[in-house]
């Protein structure tokens, strides 16, 4: 499931048929999201597994081109979706002009009500947007983990000559606790053509349509995760910024965000892999600096014990040498 919970509701629902068409091997249960091009439904496979099914009408008034673009995006994305853990799996797709709609079946996101047994009647997909709304700014360690996972997925996508064009927290879902890029409705081949597809706050100044634009959007995701602020507020820092250890980490993490979101695309990270490396290096250096600054007291205890053992060994060696010298005399 990919559509934002914010888009759900009869007052915002697009003019699509109230009753979804039947999908092979699936029982459609209830609508769980809607977007500009179609609706997302909770469905149950014949063998019992729950899935998310997006249905896109091809003849909805004023949306024909949008729907056609998404159809093309699915054709591009489906073959590679299952090759990387950070991309939502497309399990099945079908429909066409003759039917007047197309659909694609995706793996289902975790239930947002964590810790609760799955209930189809109350299920709501867990997205990063939901987590930020519920918890505010996330710990930096978690931001690094999530950011690196999505950067890895993005790098893979770019190497397939594809770009996402709509990276934002509501399009990052969790499946078995692992983050995945979803809502592939705007996925297209890298052509170098600039456009305006995407979401306000996440589109770079030069427009969307390039791999660099995707990196900018991911930078804004890192910003929202770590500050709790909306992307439009960038580069404002959190209102409650203080002097706790987390805030010191945030200011260091801030440097990665600033580089990812540079106005000049040439000043950003060269690739998603470079951004991922920066995140992982930050994590490694940060742990090393905590080690050396005494952030972990038990590390000092181990160090002291080791020093004691070393000193004892040296004393033993000196004593042994003296003993041997005395014996030789």
């Amino acid at each position: 499931m990919s559509e934002s919970q914010d888009s759900f509701g009869p007052e915002t629902a697009p003019p699509f048929p109230a009753t979804p068409p039947s999908i092979p091997e699936h029982q459609i249960m209830r609508r769980i999201g809607s977007g500009g091009s179609g609706e997302v439904w909770l469905a149950r496979h014949t063998f019992g597994a729950y899935r998310a099914v997006k249905i896109v009408p091809l003849r909805a008034a004023g949306r024909h081109q949008i729907s056609q673009n998404e159809f093309s995006g699915i054709l591009n994305f489906e073959p590679v979706s299952r090759l990387h853990d950070g991309l939502v799996d497309i399990l099945q797709a079908g429909g066409g002009e003759e039917q007047g709609y197309f659909y694609y079946v995706m793996e289902l996101a975790d239930d947002a009500r964590s810790g609760q047994p799955f209930m189809a009647e109350t299920y709501w997909p867990r997205t990063l947007a939901h987590d930020i709304r519920a918890r505010g700014r996330l710990p930096i360690g978690e931001c690094i983990r999530l950011g690196a996972a999505i950067a890895s997925a993005l790098g893979f996508l770019h190497r397939q000559n594809l770009i996402h064009r709509d990276i934002k927290p509501s399009n990052i879902i969790f499946v078995n606790g692992f983050p995945k890029l979803a809502d592939i409705g705007l996925v297209t081949e890298i052509s170098g053509e600039r456009g305006h597809a995407g979401t306000v706050g996440f589109i770079p100044p030069e427009g969307s349509g390039t791999a660099q634009a995707d990196l900018y959007s991911l930078g804004k995701v890192l910003y929202e995760m770590s500050t709790g602020n909306r992307a439009e507020n960038y580069p404002a820092l959190p209102a409650d910024l203080g002097t706790t250890r987390d805030d010191l980490e945030l200011m260091q993490f801030n440097r990665i965000i600033l580089k990812a979101c540079r106005t000049n695309p040439r000043s950003r990270y060269d690739s998603a892999d470079e951004l991922m490396t920066a995140l992982l290096s930050f994590q490694f250096n940060h742990r090393a600096s905590r080690w050396s600054s005494g952030g972990w007291p038990w590390a000092w205890a181990i160090g002291a014990f080791g020093a004691l053992i070393g000193a004892g060994f040296i004393i033993f060696l000196v004593w042994r040498l003296v003993w041997l010298l005395q014996r030789s005399e």
Binding site: H196, I203, P205, A236, T243, M251
Partner: protein, 203 residues
């Protein structure tokens, strides 16, 4: 899709011109987004409750919508600032009149009503300038934010707005103290210039 530049916060006059078209939803949304906090704050600080202040916001927007075509950029109706201030003041007075009617079976004597409205008018006038200045500052900061280097904006935010010590800002952002001073000076100058331009545009 607009880029994050000055166009995201339109100039006052071009916005006012576009408001003449009731079907220009985007411009009306811009107007609302730009001014609702100002209207709400003035109403609250004039002694109204939250519910009453919300009504003032709604009624002010309706008044602007009805009369924007009458507004002229000449001295007949004064500046937009003054025109908007008067509308807000009258809407606040309306809420206070409703209170006096609600609080008793019979309306208050004219002298008492006049006193209430007069006091309310003074309060409104008193808070208006403060809120207007705060509104200009906030709008100027929003505009300048997209025209400076992100680090410089953050320096200005921490040093000038949050009043962090310079060493703390320098350490937090990994820069030297002279850079902090310089950024604060440059960004501050741009904001002052922006405020002057907006004030001039209002006249």
């Amino acid at each position: 899709m607009e880029s994050q530049t000055d166009q995201a916060i339109p100039t006052r006059y071009s916005l006012l011109s576009r408001l003449q078209n009731w079907r220009d939803n985007e411009s009306w949304q811009d107007f609302f987004d730009t001014y609702w906090r100002l209207i709400y704050s003035v109403a609250l600080r004039s002694g109204l409750t939250e519910a009453e202040a919300q009504e003032v916001v709604q009624e002010t927007v309706i008044c602007v919508a009805k009369d924007i075509h009458k507004f002229k950029r000449d001295r007949e109706l004064g500046s937009f600032k003054g025109w908007l201030r008067n509308i807000i003041r009258w809407r606040i007075a309306d809420q206070l009149r409703k209170r006096t009617r609600r609080s008793s079976d019979q309306p208050a004597p004219p002298e008492e009503q006049s006193e209430i409205l007069g006091t309310a008018g003074d309060n409104c006038e008193a808070v208006w300038e403060l809120e207007w200045k705060a509104h200009l500052l906030k709008t100027a900061i929003q505009r300048v934010k997209h025209r400076v280097k992100e680090e410089h904006f953050q320096i200005f935010d921490l040093y000038a707005l949050r009043e962090w010590p310079v060493n703390k800002v320098a350490k937090a952002l990994g820069v030297s103290a002279p850079v902090v001073y310089l950024a604060k000076h440059r960004v501050g100058a741009m904001i002052k210039k922006e405020i002057l331009a907006m004030e001039k545009g209002q006249q």
